[in-house]
């Protein structure tokens, strides 16, 4: 039998369903892995060990009693700490929400639970999903399992590493400007941002409401499809959700062939800032698509250079509005300030938010303020329309578009921490897709060498609006022809020798939060 960390969610579910392993055993193995690796990688803000074990035992009993198992029966999953599960601390990587236990459960989380998934904990993230490295978490950075001196990307850093390091086969992140695709690329796994409206945002703590989309991480394309089949579909609590039922995989006569498929390669997606070796890996992957029968077509997305400023105007504007609710009244931190109501608001926010969140709230407030609204926010919305039109015109001639996910492989922690503009440029290839509201999947396409370490490279496959199943089909054919997604990071060096002290570092108590103690 394969080891726990080598099995994807589909294989684990099948094994549990057939009685080859129990849900309880599976959860014990998940926590063994988490206990061994979390001290070195800092993936979880809290773990739900007792609840997960109790639920696993209950699932085993239900299976023994003849219940038909759900699509994720017994599968351990991790959630980004901006997702609501009633009663479990979710703090968005922020001091302002430390200790917050939501009174309700997100629709997509409830769907995971209804399908038999077991939540093992909440994962670390850049504060309020603002960042590309995990360094904006108020509770310390997460580390890349391929090289712990490097960032795993962000903002869904912990969820990406939980999957890449074999702690769980499946985790959810949220992608606003690349926060799932970029860490997936830097960690060597799949990260899929669906079409905006595919997954309900009810219970996802808001950052940029016109951009946020719940997005799965997995180590196989079939697991991405499995997760999407569970979490997508209409929700009466989110009016931006479109009415189609859950996403179904595209049926194809031969899944290994891409004959007849037109793959667009935009010249703007190979800019000067792109690392040479990343370019080489992506060009090799494009050649592989050609070998599989695809027709490669050069295409153009002429407004790409405007995506970063457009994104940072739109996203900060929406953030400044969404984050106005953190005022010390209904939840989270309160600081008294000068004792007046206004003073309490301002002191609470000064104390509770970190530097990047403050920066974005101020930028967003500025671009929406009287006298500047038209020049910045109003103009950005028009440029956003031009960016979407670029894609619509390109998709008249091609079926999917491909390019690098991130301009570089994983960078060192601290390397960009003091330069917001350098950090924003990490999003240069993912933000256009977010602004257009279309689906994008980061696929592992190989490795580059740096400082004696192998570092993963990701390629983004972009589909037209609602073209989610087509994106997944292309990724599936590429997956069948390559082995990159099966490579595991060299983690033996991270695992401390087995002794009782080594397993005490991860919180073992119910709902214990390392974040709250730092």
């Amino acid at each position: 039998m394969s080891r726990y960390e080598e099995l994807d969610a589909t294989a684990l579910r099948n094994a549990i369903q057939k009685g080859e392993r129990s849900a309880r055993q599976t959860i014990l193995e998940a926590f063994e892995r988490i206990d061994a690796l979390d001290p070195a990688l800092h993936v979880f803000l809290n773990t739900q060990r007792q609840a997960a074990l109790a639920r696993a035992g209950e699932l085993d009993q239900r299976l023994a009693a003849g219940e038909k198992p759900g699509a994720l029966f017994g599968v351990p999953v991790a959630l980004k700490a901006n997702m609501c599960l009633a009663g479990v601390e979710t703090n968005c990587g922020s001091r302002i929400l430390a200790g917050y236990r939501p009174p309700y459960t997100a629709t997509f989380v409830q769907r995971l639970l209804d399908a038999g998934a077991i939540v093992v904990g909440m994962t670390n993230m850049d504060e309020f999903a603002m960042g590309s490295s995990s360094e904006n978490s108020a509770f310390g950075p997460t580390r890349n399992p391929w090289d712990p001196s490097r960032s795993p990307g962000g903002s869904s850093s912990g969820s990406a590493v939980a999957v890449a390091a074999g702690m769980v086969p499946l985790a959810l992140g949220s992608d606003t400007g690349g926060s799932v695709r970029q860490p997936a690329a830097l960690c060597g796994i799949y990260g899929f941002k669906p079409t905006y409206g595919r997954v309900s945002r009810f219970g996802l703590i808001a950052f940029g409401s016109s951009l946020d989309q719940v997005s799965p991480f997995a180590r196989s394309t079939r697991d991405v499809e499995l997760a999407m089949s569970v979490i997508s579909g209409l929700d009466e609590n989110d009016a931006t959700c479109f009415p189609e039922p859950a996403l179904e995989p595209e049926a194809t006569p031969d899944a290994s062939s891409l004959a007849g498929l037109r793959v667009g390669v935009p010249k703007e997606y190979f800019p000067d800032v792109l690392a040479r070796d990343v370019r080489d890996r992506c060009e090799a992957a494009i050649q592989r698509l050609r070998d599989l029968g695809a027709q490669i077509v050069e295409t153009s997305l002429p407004h790409t250079q405007y995506a970063i400023p457009t994104y940072y105007v739109v996203a900060t504007a929406e953030a400044s509005s969404n984050l106005a609710r953190y005022d010390g009244v209904r939840y989270g931190l309160r600081a008294d300030g000068d004792g007046t109501l206004q003073g309490m608001f301002a002191a609470t926010r000064e104390k509770g938010f970190g530097p990047e969140v403050k920066r974005r709230i101020l930028l967003g407030t500025y671009v929406l303020s009287a006298g500047y609204y038209d020049a910045w926010y109003g103009r950005a919305l028009k440029v956003r329309a031009l960016l979407r039109r670029d894609f619509e015109q390109a998709f008249e001639k091609v079926d999917v578009i491909v390019g690098p996910t991130s301009p570089t492989a994983a960078f060192r922690l601290g390397e960009k921490a003091d330069d917001p503009v350098a950090m924003y440029l990490c999003d240069i290839l993912t933000t256009p897709v977010s602004l257009a509201g279309i689906p994008g999947l980061s696929v592992p396409v190989g490795f580059v060498e740096d400082g004696g370490r192998k570092l993963p490279v990701g390629m983004q496959i972009v589909g037209p609006w609602k073209g989610d199943a087509r994106v997944l089909r292309v990724a599936r054919a590429y997956e069948m022809a390559t082995e990159y997604a099966k490579a595991a990071p060299p983690m033996a060096a991270l695992v401390p020798p087995k002794n009782p002290a080594a397993t005490k570092t991860v919180s073992s108590g119910e709902g214990a939060s390392r974040g709250a103690r730092t």
Binding site: P103, R379, P420
Partner: protein
């Protein structure tokens, strides 16, 4: 505000924006942020050079419209659940510093905070 889109990054203008955002800033934060604002807004300037005449604004990514659910009465979330996360509350209300009937009456809020 006195700033133009080309010169928003002075400390004075930053204070006005921070006031609108209900955000206190320490003096060292103001200086650092003003410098970063200048750099970031220089990047944003790219947008000003693009001709967007006749382009309709894209106000969101959703193409769903007229989405309604059945208008049915249903129970609200339990009051105690909604109050549980508040820094200060009574059995029925959130408690905030007094805003009418004279200044400086945070004593009520402090009492209530002990009450949770």
């Amino acid at each position: 505000m006195s700033a133009t889109p080309k010169e928003p990054a002075s400390v004075e203008n930053l204070r006005k924006i921070a006031d609108l955002a209900r955000l206190d800033l320490a003096p060292e934060e103001e200086t650092a942020l003003a410098g970063q604002f200048a750099t970031i807004l220089a990047q944003f300037e790219l947008l000003a050079g693009l001709d967007v005449s006749g382009v309709e604004a894209m106000v969101g990514a959703s193409r769903a419209s007229d989405v309604y659910r059945e208008d049915l009465p249903r129970p609200s979330a339990p009051l105690a659940d909604m109050l549980r996360n508040a820094p200060a509350h009574t059995a029925e209300f959130y408690v905030v510093p007094k805003t009418v009937g004279g200044a400086g009456s945070s004593g009520d809020a402090r009492d209530a905070r002990d009450d949770r």
